[in-house]
Amino acid sequence: MAAGAIPHKRVHPVRSFLVGDEPMTTGLWGIIFFIFSEIMFFAGLIAAMLALHSDTLLWEPTNGAHRVHGDHLRPILFTVLLVSTSIPMQFAAFSIRKGNRKAMLINMGIVLVIGTAFIINQYFEWEEAGFGISDGPYAATFYTLTGFHGAHVIGGLVFIFAQWLRGLLGHFDAKRNTAIEAATLYWHFVGFVWLLVIFPLVFFLS
């Protein structure tokens, strides 16, 4: 019909960076929409945190406990670690776009190790918090937000680990890598949300 030649489709550099130049699959669209719903879920929780914090008199833990170790160094260290894993994860995606499965597996391995370390640290943070979930709005918010975020980190790690195993089995190549791209986007989301969660939680109390 319209015999005009199909113009060369230029892919936007941001889009190219995030999900490559190939046409986006249904799976990739699906994960993007799903991430938007997850963002709204955390937006709800974070809005609750901000609203409760506006009533500063009742904000602090009712049993008088502050974070036991007092300094903010460890949370900041682990924040940097978690957020920086977005880089190897993105490199994993870059690698598989070029068909380099081995580099992808190594990069994903780094993410898995640091991500697990983050979760272990979260366990100790809870251990040492010095207050329970029912000790006032700060305490309730602290456990709810870090808990839900931790659950999402664990979910992301399971997701990545499953794809890592598939990679070991020889799945994925330069054309067929939707799951890796999806895992990468999801992992960026998990890191980004942590920034929104951790800063208010750490600095409101001090």
């Binding site: 937006a43 929780l45 609750a48 609203a51 009742l58 709005p137 709810t144």
Partner: protein, 579 residues
């Protein structure tokens, strides 16, 4: 199940009953999942209607038959069942069934996730209704579940029991089902369209599915957050989110809850609007007036829906009144655009009035009353006076409950031939329409008057102020008349499944793609698709050749201002833009 599959006997010729049951339990076919949503939501709707009859019996006269506690349970479950288990899933039913057909897709983008959503929905629904067996009965804090009524603060005589937790978990599950469903709808619309089906050629019902999908996607998670916080507050040592004694804020729940539940109103009404638009496009025998303005109005309603939630909280004193009042008034504009477009579609149309069209016209009338009373409510001073009276009950039933239900009933009559290959009985259909139309107006117009007279909602007894007993009796009579109408409908469904007149693939001379395949469609939906050059591909198929040489066709086309149908002459998208 055997009856259910009755219309598709050819598929199951010689199959055993167990084989058929297994087929339906494990299906990932969007059409079967849609039909399962339809039956399940319909069944829950009957349950919800039964609750309303109990309430109306109680309120028919002064004096009590059931206790205040039972009454609380009943109105809570009426609202919860009707909203979460009837209106939301029945929209999902039609979106599942018709949307992929309308865009010429083989199935949804993620068929297995689609099946997962249905089963999560069913499980959540069963959990919600099973709360009758819970210790302490069902949730009884209203469908809005405002804390601290939902909490055990130590001050309430009978703190809500396990039923409240079942309600919270049940609604979380239903929300999860909705979110999976919405991701599916959106990806399907964006990625699975047939060649030639551009966004500006999507049928209006598909457009409503898209906007509804976005509303579900972005608002439901916020409700999930609120429900999770409520669950934490109620369990274990308890959190401190909503209990003022522990440092929480009850108003926080209201903000989070209405951030979902106001868009939820549009999640319920928009699919109904889409169905009505498609029905008008067929039974007036002319394209829907102002196709693009319809789409833009739809998008505007969706966007505005996110910034008006606090108009449910005017009387709390905790919201910025002028902004939310102004934003709420604004919604009347796109809604008015749609009303005028529907009316203008009928204007000088070659209207015919089968039952689907009757219900669509009924939808317009009911939605008009509902919309206008909505504008009353948007004005803060009026809302202060009428808050928590029967005027509110009348208003929201007119809009999101009854108008939406009329839209969905129109959808039932409209797509029944497609789903089951048989017409619904027209005589019974018209009886159904008139009974329900008279019944619901008797109920809800009287409730508007009662509300203006100051009768509060959510009470199981009232003083006999002048006229109240009469008006309550009228309302109760209306409830039973509409219930009788729904029984006629139920009979019509089973009667038509068994003895209904056979319908061909295109019984209504439809304009959208679902009529381009057999009734019921094969598992793969289409053997072949017509060329898609406008938002009415079947109209082009039927009349394109003839109209090609008719100069008046293009003149008319210019006059109705939406460029629809110009595809008959214009094969390319660019040529169409000029039209």
């Amino acid at each position: 199940m055997a009856t259910l599959a009755g219309a598709q006997t050819s598929t199951y010729a010689g199959a055993t009953v167990w084989r058929v049951i297994l087929e339906w339990l494990t299906t990932v076919d969007h059409k079967k999942i849609g039909i399962m949503y339809l039956w399940t939501a319909g069944a829950f709707g009957l349950v919800g209607m039964a609750f309303s009859l109990v309430m109306r019996t109680e309120l028919a006269e002064t004096g009590t038959i059931i206790s205040a506690e039972t009454y609380n349970s009943i109105f809570t479950m009426h609202g919860s069942v009707m909203i979460f288990l009837f209106l939301l899933p029945i929209g999902a039913a039609f979106m599942n069934y018709s949307m992929p057909l309308q865009i010429g897709a083989l199935d949804m983008a993620f068929p297995r996730i689609n099946a997962l959503s249905f089963w999560i929905f069913l499980f959540g629904g069963v959990l919600l209704t099973l709360s009758f067996a819970a210790e302490g009965g069902t949730a009884s804090a209203g469908w809005t579940a405002y804390p601290p009524v939902t909490l055990d603060t130590g001050n309430n005589a009978e703190p809500p029991g396990a039923g409240m937790d079942m309600w919270l978990v049940g609604v979380i599950l239903l929300g999860q089902a909705s979110i999976f469903g919405s991701v599916n709808f959106l990806v399907t619309i964006f990625k699975m369209r047939a060649p030639g089906m551009t966004m500006w050629r999507l049928p209006l019902f598909t457009w409503t599915t898209l906007v509804t999908g976005l509303l579900i996607l972005l608002s439901t998670p916020v409700l999930a957050a609120a429900l999770v916080l409520g669950f934490i507050d109620r369990n274990g040592a308890g959190g401190a989110f909503f209990d003022p004694a522990a440092g929480g804020q009850p108003l926080l729940w209201q903000n989070l809850f209405w951030f979902y539940s106001h868009p939820a109103v549009y999640i319920m009404i928009l699919p109904a609007m889409g169905i009505v638009s498609d029905v008008f496009g067929v039974f007036t025998r002319r394209p829907v007036f102002g196709y693009r303005s319809m789409v833009l109005a739809l998008i505007a309603i969706g966007l505005l829906g996110f910034i008006v939630w606090a108009h449910h909280m005017f009387t709390t004193g905790g919201v910025f009144l002028p902004f939310f009042m102004g934003a709420t008034f604004l919604i009347a504009v796109p809604t008015g655009v749609k009303m005028f477009n529907w009316i203008t579609t009928m204007w000088r149309g070659s209207n015919i009035f089968p039952t689907a069209m009757l219900f669509s016209v009924g939808f317009l009338m009911l939605f008009l009353i509902g919309g206008i009373t909505g504008v009353f409510h948007a004005a803060v001073p009026v809302d202060f006076a009428l808050h928590d009276t029967y005027f509110v009950v009348g208003h929201f039933h007119y809009t999101m409950s009854i108008a939406a239900t009329f839209g969905f009933l129109a959808g039932c009559y409209y797509w029944f031939p497609k789903m089951f290959g048989k017409f619904m009985n027209e005589g019974l259909g018209k009886l159904h329409f008139w009974l329900v139309f008279i019944g619901v107006n008797l109920i809800f117009f009287t409730q508007l008057l009662l509300g203006l007279d100051g009768m509060p909602r959510r009470i199981n007894d009232y003083v006999d102020n002048p006229g109240w007993e009469l008006m309550n009796m009228l309302t109760t009579i209306g409830a039973f008349v509409s219930a009788a109408g729904m029984m006629v409908f139920l009979y019509n469904v089973f009667y038509s499944l068994k003895w209904g007149e056979r319908a061909g693939s295109d019984p209504w001379e439809g304009t959208t793609l679902e009529w381009a395949t057999t009734s019921p469609p094969p598992a793969h939906n289409f053997d072949s698709l017509p060329e898609i050059r406008s938002e009415r591909p079947l109209f082009d198929l039927r009349f394109g050749e003839r109209l090609q040489d008719d100069p008046h066709y293009h003149v008319n086309n210019g006059h109705n201002g939406n460029g629809s149908g110009s595809g008959a002459k214009a094969p390319t998208a660019s040529a169409r833009e000029e039209g």
